[in-house]
Amino acid sequence: MKSNRISLTFSSLPQNVTIARMLASTMGAQLDLPVNELEEIKVAVSEAVSNSIIHGYGNSTDKIVTLELEVSEDNLTIQVIDSGCGIKDIKQAMQASFSTDPERMGLGFIFMQSFMDDLQVESSLGSGTKVTMVKRINRQHPSSH
């Protein structure tokens, strides 16, 4: 597997959530990931980018979100980075049904956790949040001899 890397920097606009998840899923498709895993990647990226826009930037549309995609040996690593307000209590934010907004279900991190093989969240108040998610590429094709 040749390593590959794509970085996308975009405005914190709701319509860019679509672009971010499509890019990640397209990269996954090039790795021959099954369709259900591509769907999972799309949801996970959508959650992370939506969190950055809604919570990190309080829905300001003039901020910047960065999506980093990296393919190495057996992993597709996806990072979503913002320089927003940061998360006060990461443990609490990652719990089911925790949301600062009553209209939301508090499922963002639950979906990221369930759909990806690894999830790391780094955040500091006032300087931003970096979400790192990993999807393992299980190559079961016998053709790789």
Partner: protein, 125 residues
């Protein structure tokens, strides 16, 4: 009366609200055909569309037709749950029909099927 008007204009294609959201009003029931993707952008459009009809037209049953929905995330699920919570004290309900299997998986993980009715219908041509 809005209702009479809507019965005559059976299908309203409201492009200003969303690229693909057809709606049909039958007395106190709102049928919405939610096509495409339901994420933070389109979910807020869906929320406004439903709330206007609940508040101004007395809609009490909302049926979301999801045959052609391809994507949903927690923003979309949150809006569905929010409409459920809004309709409950009004004696109303929200129902989802023809949810594609890959989206049902996500909804199941959210616990939504435990509180909201899911149905399968023959697709009207």
């Amino acid at each position: 009366m809005g209702d009479v008007e809507d019965i005559f204009n059976n299908y309203v294609l409201d492009r200003s609200v969303s690229q693909k959201m057809r709606k049909r009003l039958e007395r106190h029931t709102l049928h919405l055909y939610v096509d495409g993707e339901l994420d933070m952008k389109t979910a807020s459009q869906l929320k406004n569309m439903i709330d206007i009809d609940i508040d101004r037209k007395g809609i009490r049953t909302v049926i979301l037709h999801m045959d052609n929905l391809h994507f949903i995330d927690s923003s979309g699920l949150g809006v569905i749950l929010g409409r459920y919570k809004k309709l409950l004290p009004l004696g109303g309900q929200i129902r989802l029909t023809n949810v594609p299997p890959h989206l049902y998986r996500i909804m199941e993980l959210s616990g939504l099927p435990k509180i909201i009715e899911f149905t399968q219908e023959e697709t009207a041509l």
